[in-house]
Amino acid sequence: METINSEIFTLMYGSIVRQLITDLEDITEVNKQLDTMGYNIGVRLIDEFLAKSRTAACTDFRDSTEKVAKVGFRMFLNTTANVTNWNPEGTECSLVLEDNPLTDFVELPEGCSKLKYCNVLCGVIRGALEMVNVQVECDFAKDTLRGDELNEIRLKLISEGTEAYPFKDDD
């Protein structure tokens, strides 16, 4: 797998966020735009993930989140996440990231405390899982840029569809 210096990635993401803030000015709009961009990335990223990782089909939501956290993050961001904090029904969990390449040199200024800097990650996870028929809601519970110790993404399973064969057999 081809790799490049991760700092250029970090710096480019910072440049994107800065451009968005200058263009949109409203922080909630920026958060939404980052999520949309992440979603667009996620729906294409899932193909590459499945092709390169050659994993078998996941058995349930737990398995899916483990794959996302261990294989997915390692493949694309060269870092791993841990899956913790399962709720009793097994439909909600947290992905905990210790080091996040997106935020390597970043400090949030006073006026941007509502900015979810890494919201693109939430969009990517949501988009990728949606393409395999798992609808989730994805949000940041803890953020190092806002003073917490580590990054925590909260994943909530909304629904799991079955694989629908797209063509009718009798046509």
Binding site: N5, E7, S15, Q19, M75, F76, N78, F105, E107
Partner: protein, 191 residues
């Protein structure tokens, strides 16, 4: 304000050895290009937005590279600055030195750095109605930021130059320096 974690400027500067997959970069870059396309109305503006994105990166990159590689010494002569871009900056971005560094035959304030197959353009296919769009304008912006921060203001653009015998054109970063830069360089004592 933030307890527990050190303030950003007190933390040691990272060694810069970590890597990330090319596909992650390419996905993000494609989103940036797509977003920029919604904000502009023609190709020139699109290239300018990519360049501006690269410019802010270049400014920061100059500081970091000088600190890491050169013990905070900065180049003051034009040729040394060009060599800095050609080797240090290129090695940081692409893992190797650039292919050529040459001076233009027609004007003595123009210099060109060329390279083949920049990874920035690896997954980009330009439709025919976009003509000469070169997304290496992003790299041109980085170079402009580095040169501007070092005190060599220039207009930097990226072009495709077809080469005989090669299936794909090489990418040339063309730098046109301000007259003040050349005049200052003449005044400096040559080493």
């Amino acid at each position: 304000m933030f307890s527990g974690r050190l303030n950003l400027i007190d933390r040691p500067v990272a060694k810069g050895k970590s890597e990330i997959s090319l596909s992650a970069f390419s996905f993000l870059f494609s989103e940036m290009v797509q977003y920029s396309q919604t904000q502009v109305s023609n190709i020139g503006e699109l290239e300018r937005r990519l360049e501006d994105a690269g410019y802010s990166i270049g400014l920061r990159l100059l500081e970091m590279l000088c600190f890491r590689e050169r013990n905070s010494k900065r180049e003051i002569k034009l040729l040394d600055a060009l060599k800095f871009v050609h080797s240090t900056v290129w090695k940081y971005l692409f893992g190797r030195q650039a292919r050529d560094l040459e001076q233009s035959n027609t004007a003595d304030d123009e210099y060109m750095i060329s390279d083949n197959d920049l990874f920035v353009n690896k997954f980009i296919s330009v439709p025919r109605d976009m003509g000469q769009l070169n997304c290496a304008a992003f790299v041109a912006g980085i170079v402009r930021g580095v040169l501007d921060g070092a005190g060599f203001p220039a207009r930097v653009t990226a072009h495709f130059v077809p080469i005989a015998g090669q299936p794909r054109p090489k990418t040339t970063i063309l730098m046109k320096f301000d007259a003040s830069v050349l005049q200052r360089d003449l005044r400096l004592p040559s080493s």
